[in-house]
Amino acid sequence: MSTPNLHLFVLVVPLLSALAVNLWGRNNRQMIAPLVLGSLAFSVLGSIVVMGNVLRHGTISYTVGNWQPPFGIELIIDPLSAMMMVLISVVALLASFSSLKSAEQELPGREAFFFTLYLILIAGLHGLVLTGDAFNLYVLLEITSITSYGLIAMGRGRAALSSFNYIIMGTIGACFYLLGVGYIYILTGTLNMADIARILPTLNAPVATTTAIAFVLVGLWVKMAFFPLHAWLPNAYSHAPTGAGTMVAPLMTKVTVYLMIRVILNVYTPALVFTHDWVTNGVMWAAAIAIVCGSALALGQKDLRRMLTYIIIAEVGYMVGGVFLANSNGLTGAILHIVNDSLMTLCLFLVVAAIIYRQGSVSLDSLQGIFRRMPITMAAFTLGAFAMIGVPPTCGFFSKWYLILGGIDGGHWEFVIALVVSSLINVILFFRIIELAYFGSLADGEHHEHGSTERHEAPWWMLKPLVITAVLLIVVGFSTGPLINNVISLIIPAGF
């Protein structure tokens, strides 16, 4: 297997194993686990090798089918997309351990369908990260959305309704993006991102370009549930089957934020996007409101999983705000936050999956005294909570450091205040649960612990990824320096 197109095999292997799972998985269910884990392990190794190649030889531009651009579809693998590929495959592998167990418990007999959609979604995400062609990006965006509609609709009870709402909102977002691509095609006559970036500044059609940018950005904002357009996310992620939530929550919104960064940096070039400061100020205020409202809404939730979905909305506000600060610290913080936030969300959703596997529900009053019943899971939850709050050794602190620094450099004080306020709300949110879990069974004040004290820990198959992710939070925290120096700093254009 020649390594120049290894990155495509990182995408093709999960796709082929999805077909295999669909074909054979239905009647012999024990085939599913090896296929899923094998293909994802391969894609993890593949993406790490690709990352190595990209860091050594610089950006790889790859034409599918040997049709030279601007006719053929061109794939661009620069350090940012290589990093995202590694992130997606690692998160997918860790999440699939727990999803295998959850699917077995929640969707008996329909695991084959579940894991077909699961693997196609991962292949679609890899494709999204690789593509260098605007329309191809739309197609892959739809592939990932349709598979996640399907995954969410497999849940019980309200899942179908929330999936339908997600379909409506997702299609609106995708069509807005398609409209934006249409306007660009009219203006520049090409769909290749590099060509668009070259031709757009030369045209003097400010109104049309601005509309094109506006359509694309609004489309992506709907897809990433940026605050005013977030209504679909809480229902969709909390009613989905646990296995789907563990995989979709850490990846979907973060990859869409990556797309927004790719569009701003490589398609429209920051000069065009950040020309009018009423645009940047407007988005900064929207991001600040998103952060504060996301965290505040999370306060009102009675269920841990719904609370985490609102925190995801607040985190999207972090990243969008970071990007629109339009300075190098802000952008570094946003890209770093993509990595950190997906790991943090993965850790917390793995905890939710483990608790639901054992207890069936994560409503706050069912978490009473759970420290004693599931000590390892709750220890990982505490570490994830520290990362979300932004306690130093964990990775959450460093991306928050860059975002606040970028906010101070850019003079956007409303963004800085919003970040600090949301950290404080996170403290309340998470310590409310830690206190509940820690004190829980003793709330009625007598001294020695009682209630079900014997360990009722999640199965080892679910604890493995949880422990690895928790450790990863600290490892990524300490490796912020090297991560930034040789990956993120290469991406930030000079004039920023």
């Binding site: 297997m1 020649s2 197109n5 495509l8 095999f9 093709v12 796709l15 082929l16 077909l19 295999a20 669909n22 074909l23 239905r26 790859y62 034409t63 599918v64 089918g65 040997n66």
Partner: protein
Amino acid sequence: MRDINEHTPGEDLIIKTAVRLMVPFAQLFGLYVIVHGHYSPGGGFQGGVILGAAFIMLALAFDVKTSQQYMTIRVNTVFNNLGAAIFVGVGALSAIFGGLFLDYSALDKLIPMGPVEWRSFGIFLVEVGVGFTVMSIMVLLYWNLSSGGAMDEGL
């Protein structure tokens, strides 16, 4: 509303005989569209839809059970995955043999036929794969939607 399964002769007879006559020709035309796809109007998707329509006509005129006699669910799944596997497989194969992904001229090393011929033959293989998948998906869609997933009598 009278029970739809109760067969009143006359009105159904015409439809059934018409469908029985049309289905083979529809399938032949569908194959024609697929085969000529790579250098004239037509192609995998359109041909697949026509083939699928043939089976759906059967299901409409008779019922889901009869159309399943001609294509069982198992066969449908095989067609479904086989088609997609052909598409991705040909692309990956050409990548394995040194070319770029989906660059069929690299398959020349497998069976020497000249890179240009391989390009057109490669596209043809892909069209066939797409045709299979689209046909089976269309039929599967109709089966599921009409019978609410129970795959019994349908509309």
